[in-house]
Symmetry: C3
Subunit: 127 residues, 3 copies
C-alpha cells in the first residue's frame, strides 16, 4: 500500500535508483509488515543544488552530494517503535547495499486512512 | 482544491497525460463535489521499471506496462462511500476515454485541513 | 523538517527555481518557526499545460503561465493564524524577489506527526 517517492541525485549509474527502490521495498516488507508484492514507487533524478536541495549540516549531521529523500505515503497506525526500527534498518540496508552513508538518508512518512487506496479495478481493497 | 500528482509511463502520445488529467478533473467534479475550475495538476512521465515501479500482481490484480498512479491531496471529510464511488468512476472513465485497463489504475488520497490551502494572493481562501 | 516540493514552469532562467526555493526556506524560517538549516526541497520543472496544469480563473483569481505550486510536508500543530501569515508572507516575498504575481502562487500544506521524520543516521530525531 505504500507509495514511495524516492528523489535521488542525477548522474548515478543506471541501476542506482532501482537498487535504492529495491531496498526500500524490502525494508518495508521486513520491518513495517507491508505485504509481499505491495510495491508502488516513483524514482526521480534531480541536479543537486538546483532540483534536489538538501542542507549539508542540519541537526549536526554531515550530508554529502549523495544525500537522497525517501518520502512514503502509507496507511496510519504503525507504532513509534516500528517507525524507528524502519528508519534504522533502511539506513543500515542502504549502507550495506549501495554504500550510502547513513547521514545521507532523509526519510518522511505521510499517513492516510485505509479507505484512501485503490490498487486497481476501481475498488477500495482495504475497506 | 485538490492537487493531483499523476505519474504515467514514458513514451505515450503527446496528449495522453493531458487526457488522463482531464478525466481526473472531470471525475473529481462529478463525484467528489469539487468546484468548477478547481484544477491543479502535475503530470510526470517516467521510464517503466526505473522511474515508475509498479508491482504486476499485488492483490491478484494483473497490471501491465501502462499502469499509472494518481495521488490526490484534498480537503478531509469525504465519506467512504464517496471515495469508493470516485475510484470506480475514475477507473470507468479512464477506460472509456483512453482505453486504460481498470487493473492499471492505482489511486491514493491524502487528506488535509481546509486551512492548508492558498489558491493565490497569499490568502487561505477556505478559512 | 519540512520537505517542500516546488513545481515550476519550464523555461525559466537557470537560477529561477533555486531562488524560489531560497525564498520558501527563508519564509518558513521567518514565519513558521522552522529551525536554521532545516532545508529539504525538491524543485521540478514542467511544460505548462502538459505537465503543470493550473486553472487560470478558479475563485476569481487570474493566474498566468508563471503560476507555480509549493506543496510542503511539515509537522502538525501550527495555528491557522500562523499558516495564514505564512501564505501572505510567501506571496509578498516571491513578489519582491522574483516579481511573481501574488495570484500565481498556489500553496498546500500536508501535516504529519513528529515521529514521521528521520534526518539521517536512521534516527527519528524529533521523538
Amino acid at each position: 500500500m505504500p507509495i514511495a517517492r524516492i528523489d535521488i541525485p542525477h548522474g548515478k549509474p543506471a541501476a542506482y535508483g532501482r537498487t535504492v527502490a529495491d531496498v526500500v521495498y524490502e525494508t518495508l516488507r521486513a520491518v513495517l509488515n507491508v505485504p509481499e508484492n505491495d510495491r508502488f514507487q516513483i524514482v526521480s533524478q534531480h541536479q543537486v543544488g538546483d532540483g534536489l536541495i538538501i542542507d549539508p549540516t542540519y541537526l549536526g549531521i554531515e550530508r554529502s552530494a549523495d544525500a537522497l529523500i525517501v518520502q512514503i505515503t502509507l496507511s496510519e497506525g504503525r507504532s513509534v517503535e516500528l517507525k524507528q526500527a524502519f528508519y534504522k534498518t533502511l539506513a543500515d540496508n542502504l549502507h550495506d547495499r549501495i554504500g550510502l552513508r547513513r547521514e545521507d538518508l532523509m526519510i518522511n512518512l505521510v499517513e492516510v486512512k485505509k479507505e484512501n487506496w485503490s490498487f486497481g479495478n476501481g475498488i477500495a481493497q482495504y475497506v
